[in-house]
Amino acid sequence: MLEEGQEGVVVAITPRARSFSLGSGFWGSFSRRFRWGWRRRGAAWGAVKRLADLGILAGTRIKVVRKAPFRGPIEIEVGGSRFMIGRGLAERILVEVKPVGSQPSLG
């Protein structure tokens, strides 16, 4: 679980909560591949797509600004702007902590 003020790089956004994620854990070295059903995607899918539209994808550098009390949303900083993301969704964003500056660009 990233603490307030900690930065990380998104590894993957999973359809279901896992124990290691932005919300509740620390993701190690590799990302598992997920196959979504052909054209049958639930609410979880919409959220992943929306995050992608905001520029939150695998490889994006994210900073946790703060967490709302009572397991409320998490405030994150991405590319100069800030978003709040519900805790349930935040827990599905798997991140890897890297030292600042070594993140290769998207491509």
Binding site: A52, L57, A68, S81
Partner: protein, 655 residues
């Protein structure tokens, strides 16, 4: 601003149609208001409750029609707003699209700009919030950006109107030359897929641009997929092949692969045009945010703001309302009686006047300042902090943090509360927020509760009743979220930085909302006033109260006359108090009602039915069936809870 506003007659064809597109919180509506002023009208997009703001102006001999598209983050099929925007741009083909972006977060906004470029309409990029960008040390090479994107770029500072005229100049210029932009090109594999699909689609008759259709096929966009299946089904197998190929290469779902392409292109462009000259320092806003989102202080600050707004609204508003309902009403009544005398027909006419006065007495002192203050807090950026704090609680009712805004407005009047539910993302959440808002005790209910329980029983009971009402609203939300199909949506919302509120925008928004309120509430309030007067004159009221007596006196333990009060209360709840006085002939209600009866009556008033104005809002926003269901549910709830509480109080010795 120098552009003169058109007093355009409806129906006159505009010479130029401009659509404003952009993400939420970029100052798009501020630019819209700068352009059109009060020459705008707000309607809904056909068949939806999504707002469509349209305005006209006259500039350089052009009659220009400006359409403010909903604030969205992308052009997928995901939300209603996105569908509306893209259908509008692709099918209605506005002459020029103006993409308003936030200069302080250019990279993220460029992702959306690239999507607009794919749609192939002439595009002007408005780099808004240049002042904030400069202040935080961001320098943007505008010429380079123009060159890379191949479209005109204008620097703007919307609240000061800076750059707004240039947007028009560029738009007219583009229109004259009828320049369409070059579509952005992505990575090699993706481009190859797009090219092959485009070729396959060459002779298809599509409502969308071909390249865009190809990209959307790769993104598995449901709508585009359906259209292609219909118009050119032989492309589908090719699309499937290309998608699985793409997914093999990229290791992601194909739509994510395309999103990645856009993101990486946006980041490349940003690296070439943006220079950060000094690092970001924590601003005053950041420091205030520490407090505003603090686990303890945050809630205290929210409560302080809340109390501040309501003491302002009720303290000042109460005085003004009194003027409308007493002084002005009495003066007009005298004139009316002198003119027409006291007989049946003028009395019916008078009830219409009374209804109008009531409406003014509600709108001007309560709803106007409530809207004004809420919009100020929103424009400043504070309201999203409340959503941040309340999300966890609201989630239990199946909605997310944004729902606090309709509920807050509901305390003033349920009508704006229900209307504000439009901000929710999905239909399901909109409905839950609306139902919850109708159970929030509004200012009219407060008058009754304070006048009965507050005056004769004690403030602690008022607080208990309020907590009870809020709990009812919350539990109803929980129940509704269990019953309604669909899944709860997670909160994804921008946390805007604090801005100096733009009062012009706030005033325009307040005025437009107030006008909408009148349109919705006025006909029903006036009409139902007349109907009730007719019932009174025809002597039907005692019959009705007899009919209701098994419920009112039998089950709820209230005097029989309460039946009449409750009928009047449907019209406007604070009439319950006024009618009680006139029916019993006394202002000392403790002579006619026991403590138990006062508490029960107040409780029933809080819950028993949304008033006519709220019902008509529900009909308009959610349809007849939902409005009827909600009304029936609330009547049943009030009867059940009222009777139960009355008996419970008796057990505790309160009679």
């Amino acid at each position: 601003m120098e552009a003169s506003r058109a007093s355009a007659k409806r129906g006159q064809r505009p010479d130029l149609r401009i659509a404003l597109a952009g993400q939420a919180n970029v100052g798009k509506s501020v630019i819209f208001n700068q352009l059109t002023g009060l020459h705008q009208h707000i309607a809904n997009w056909p068949g939806t409750t999504v707002e469509k703001a349209e305005g006209t102006l006259f500039y350089k001999g052009f009659l220009i029609d400006v359409i403010d598209l909903p604030g969205i983050y992308s052009l997928t099929h995901y939300s209603l707003e996105e569908r509306i925007s893209r259908e509008y741009i692709a099918k209605e083909k506005p002459d020029v699209v103006v993409n308003v972006v936030d200069a302080t977060a250019l990279e993220r906004h460029l992702i959306f700009t690239l999507q607009l470029l794919e749609l192939g309409r002439p595009l002007v990029l408005a780099l808004n919030m240049m002042d904030l960008a400069n202040k935080s040390g961001i320098e943007i090479d505008v010429r380079a950006l123009e060159e890379i994107l191949g479209i005109p770029v204008v620097e703007t500072i919307a609240p000061r109107g800076k750059g707004v005229i240039q947007i028009l100049d560029e738009a007219i210029e583009l229109h004259r030359k009828s320049l369409t932009p070059k579509a952005p090109s992505y990575g090699k594999e993706v481009e190859e897929c797009i090219r092959r699909l485009e070729q396959a689609l060459a002779d298809a008759d599509l409502p969308y641009p071909r390249r865009w259709t190809a990209i959307k096929l790769l993104e598995k966009d449901e709508e585009v997929w359906r259209i292609v299946e219909e118009k050119k089904p032989d492309v589908i197998p090719l699309a499937r092949d290309l998608i699985s190929e793409l997914e093999k290469v990229h290791g992601h779902d194909s739509s994510i692969a395309i999103a990645n392409e856009r993101a990486s292109l946006a980041s490349q462009i940003t690296r070439r045009v943006v220079r950060i000259v000094k690092p970001r320092k924590p601003s005053l806003g950041d420091r205030f945010d520490e407090l505003a989102t603090h686990p303890i202080l945050g809630y205290l600050i929210a409560i302080l703001f809340f109390l501040g707004v309501f003491s302002l609204v009720f303290g000042v508003g109460g005085q003004v309302a009194e003027f409308f309902e007493e002084d002005l009403s009495e003066a007009l009544r005298e004139i009316w009686v002198n003119l027409f005398g006291v007989s049946a027909l003028p009395e019916i006419g008078w009830s219409a006047v009374e209804g109008t006065l009531f409406l003014l007495g509600l709108a001007i002192p309560y709803i106007l300042p409530l809207y004004f203050l809420t919009f100020t807090l929103e424009n400043w950026g504070y309201l999203s902090r409340i959503s941040f704090l309340m999300d966890s609680l609201m989630h239990r009712a199946g909605v997310h943090g944004k729902a606090v805004i309709p509920l807050l407005l509901g305390f003033g009047c349920n009508v704006p509360g229900c209307l504000a539910a439009r901000i929710m993302d999905t239909w399901r959440e909109r409905l839950i927020a609306m139902i919850m808002a109708t159970l929030i005790p509004c200012s009219a209910v407060t008058v009754v509760v304070m006048g009965l329980v507050g005056r004769y029983v004690g403030v602690e009971w008022v607080i208990i009743l309020y907590i009870f009402a809020l709990l009812t609203s919350f539990l109803t939300g929980v129940a509704a979220s269990r019953i309604l199909p669909g899944e709860a949506v997670e909160l994804i919302m921008e946390m805007p930085s604090y801005k100096v509120p733009s009062f012009k925008t706030i005033l325009v928004m307040t005025w437009l909302r107030l006008r909408e309120y009148f349109y919705i509430a006025a006909p029903l309030i006036i009409l139902s006033g007349v109907i009730i007067k007719l019932l009174e004159l025809s002597g039907a009221l005692p019959i009705i109260s007899d009919l209701l007596s098994p419920i009112t006196s039998g089950w709820l333990g209230l005097p029989k006359e309460v039946g009449i009060l409750l009928i009047f209360g449907i019209l406007r709840k604070e009439l319950i108090l006024a009618m009680l006085a006139s029916l019993t002939g006394t202002l000392d209600f403790s002579q006619v009602l026991s403590t138990n009866q006062m508490i029960t009556l107040s409780l029933v008033t809080m819950l028993y039915i949304p008033c006519v104005a709220t019902i008509s809002t529900l009909v308009k926003e959610a349809g007849m069936r939902t409005a009827t269901l909600v009304t029936v549910f609330e009547i049943a709830l009030a009867i059940m809870v009222g009777g139960a509480v009355s008996r419970l109080l008796l057990i505790f010795g309160i009679s």
